[in-house]
């Protein structure tokens, strides 16, 4: 493989962010001395920039509305049951979310928020609550896994006679 062929592979690696050290320095030195490879590298890097800058097309509103209609029909009471199951946690999260919303409130020059500001604040609080609930749900899942896979095996390694001592000590105290 000659220097230009090796350079071609390295250009792709550089575009991918995978080139460092001696190879990066050798590539740079080659590009400075070889106009053909320099042009080829520049055109490839420009192409990738063009692709990475491609605009995102907007999904038609009616198509997204259909998604929301299908998913809301499929979830009667889903959120409510979730909230009831975790009442205490959600109550805490609700208090925190609303408190945060109130603390961030600043009356305007006319002394009060506009209806749009109130609506936006409500949406923000709802999303904050939903995110908190989601985080708690995930924390519960992770907690169970850690207890099962890590805490229990660790405790199992404690010699049985010590566990018996601890158990009898607890009975004596009670």
């Amino acid at each position: 493989m000659n220097a230009c062929e090796r350079c071609r592979e390295w250009v792709h690696a550089r575009i991918d962010g995978d080139l460092a050290g001696d190879a990066a320095r050798e590539l740079q030195a080659h590009l400075e001395s070889c106009a053909a490879c320099r042009d080829e590298a520049a055109s490839l890097e420009r192409l990738v920039l063009d692709l990475r800058g491609a605009p995102v097309e907007r999904m038609p509103d009616d198509a997204f509305a259909a998604v929301l209609a299908r998913t809301s029909r499929a979830s009667p009471g889903r959120t409510a049951s979730f909230v009831r199951r975790r009442g205490a946690w959600i109550g805490l999260a609700a208090a925190a979310g609303i408190a945060a919303a109130l603390l961030s409130f600043r009356p305007g020059d006319d002394g009060g928020p506009t209806p749009e500001e109130i609506a936006q604040a409500r949406r923000d609080v709802q999303v904050a609550l939903a995110l908190t609930a989601d985080a708690l749900q995930r924390a519960e899942t992770v907690g169970k896994r850690v207890l099962t896979e890590e805490v229990s095996p660790t405790l199992q390694r404690v010699p049985i006679r010590w566990r018996n001592v601890a158990e009898s000590g607890r009975r004596n105290r009670t």
């Binding site: 692709l51 198509a63 959120t79």
Partner: protein, 173 residues
Amino acid sequence: MIEAVFERVAREHKDRVFSHAVWLLRDREEAADVAQEVLVRLWQHRERVQVEAALGWLLKATHRLCIDRWRRRRARPEVPQREGLPPPEDPAPDPERRCLGAAVGAALGASLDRALGSLDDRPRAAILLREVEGLPYDEIAETLGVPLGTLKSMIHRSREKLRDALIREGVRP
């Protein structure tokens, strides 16, 4: 992922999903169908999908559904392509209907469209997932079901083909 979070995630990513489907299928109507289906599937799998991993999950699901569409098209070659992106050989491209036209200039956008359309389905999907959507190589390899080394070669060759096509059309020096 609960309902309000699902809606937020869906709103955040719906256009990326739709765009990716348009790129792969080159048909907006079909792409809208696919995007709907993918987002409904996210809802159905919401308990298993982490919020931060949702975009990757959505793009992979989009890819799988587009593969199904490609297979159906091949099985029914007599079905004409519906309104959407013109085929690569279209002699009079309409920049308004192009994905890239608005952002990178109509001439370059149209040429890129034609060049992408000339790639086979899998290399086109690979380079779109990598360069447009920014997915890491290992995720793309898993999605497309190809070894990592094969995928890298495929993407590198696709870059060179696209670059050569743009030079041939005179939109890049």
